[in-house]
Symmetry: C2
Subunit: 283 residues, 2 copies
């Protein structure tokens, strides 16, 4: 496995692969890899001759009061994890390789980015779209892999790829959970033992909503209120949002008549966690 | 020569060319082709195995009070011109092929777009960057060709390509002029005979500034005032701007100590014309 820090090194290697007619899959990450990322790598391995994992904590997608400085990093462990997964190349550039002092170009998606997390994190998805565009242009993969856990990110990237005619297939991969149901996330490492227990309330709320939907409940406010009640029982939890939205536009839906995304963001202590599921009406 | 209206057709053909190891040059245009465009095509022919010309009047780069509806169009003549130049493919999509009703992704460059034309045409360069990104992704050329007449556009595209790691070489080509000095432009077709005569004042102002620079003048305000005087002698002319800026950042320069862009925009009747030249200090 190769570990590259520069765009030039990455491009040289990919040129070689392309000459040999090999296909390339990209798994963009911010590192501190967990089983969620590994499932993306496994999927990429299955569908491509070569797999690249990028490890880059992208400064421009963090707001001024967010956790950029504290975001967990462990490149040595990440390299090991990628090696174990049979990854072919890690691209882990320093910030200066990605953003020179005169950097001033941005990619943004309007509308869909103004809902859910976008409402709470202005500029976040602009930062995401910009860095993903750069990573796409640097690696020019056939396919790129994103987790459904970041449901809005996945929807935004799909919209961007479609709008800008980016010649890359975007593959969304299911949420990977701990044994007790907590969605895997690098940010779980922030949680104390007590907070880790409290964090389960996101999954409990999701489980309740799923069962109410199965019983035929279609009113968004009733579902949201039931989820709220579960989370408000947890003294360490503070709801950022719980929303039921159209699966494609991410606009709020009052009565469920089509595929919807049911998404929530909850602070556990100082750690903001997200989770979601997609509900498709039975035929 | 092939004439394609759809992204799919373009991609199929380019895939074939790529399989054969051929290089591709792109000349993005809004059609109504003139000798300026032809010089771009000639340059592209020299440097690439295959040349694509896109003909697309991009609605999102026109402001609400600009000339989108009246912008001159003549596809039959454009096809002939391309054929004569030995172009291999024209891509002339309808607007619906480029922008679906849910289109919502944009590429923008900050800073450099806020000077000169960008100050007068808010959103213009965002529209340009977005369509150029789309055309780049659709055709994936090795090189793309832009005229120095649209000096700010060329600088913005170069900045975007550098910032977003777009793997395409941007080639800037010199301004092509009529025998009397008027810079070739599709918008010249708007001019009445009287206006056509008046339009020469842009080149006259440029010629005067060049000779003053040669005589050693380095004060921007003196040069600008001299240029103003030339243009104000023309009753049909109304100055939009005359500016002397740093060649790279496009920020105003008071005293010329480095390479500068000397650029002007002038209304002749209702037609807005631009012209410019680059001055490099003698060694």
């Amino acid at each position: 496995m190769q570990v590259f820090n520069t765009v030039a090194d990455v491009r040289n290697q990919i040129k070689e692969w392309r000459k040999q007619g090999l296909t390339v899959g990209l798994v963009p990450t911010m590192g501190y890899l967990h089983e969620g990322h590994q499932s993306l790598m496994a999927q990429a391995k299955q569908q491509n001759d070569k797999v690249i994992v990028s490890v880059f904590v992208n400064p421009i997608q963090f707001g001024p009061n967010e956790d950029l400085a504290n975001y967990p990093r462990d490149l040595d462990r990440d390299i090991l994890a990628c090696q174990n997964m049979g990854v072919d190349m890690i691209f882990c550039p320093p910030a200066s390789e990605m953003y020179d002092p005169h950097f001033s170009s941005f990619v943004d998606v309007i509308g869909i980015t103004e809902q859910l997390c976008g409402k709470r994190r202005p500029g976040h998805f602009k930062g995401v779209c910009t860095v993903v565009t750069k990573l796409f242009n640097i690696t020019q993969p056939d396919r790129a892999y994103f987790g459904q856990k970041d449901a809005q990110q996945l929807a935004v990237i799909k919209q961007m790829v479609n709008d800008l005619n980016i010649p890359i297939v975007i593959v969304g991969c299911p949420i990977i959970r701990e044994a007790d149901g907590l969605a895997k996330s690098s940010r779980n490492s922030y949680l104390s033992t007590q907070e880790r227990n409290a964090a389960l309330c996101l999954y409990q709320a999701i489980t309740l909503a799923k069962s109410l939907l199965q019983q035929g409940e279609r009113q968004s406010d009733k579902l949201i209120n039931a989820m709220k009640t579960v989370i408000e029982q947890q003294p360490l939890a503070r709801i950022d949002y719980i929303e039921i939205t159209d699966f494609n536009t991410l606009k709020s839906v009052k009565h469920i008549e089509q595929s919807v995304l049911i998404a929530l963001a909850v602070f556990i202590g100082n750690t903001r966690l997200i989770d979601n599921f997609v509900f498709t009406l039975p035929e």
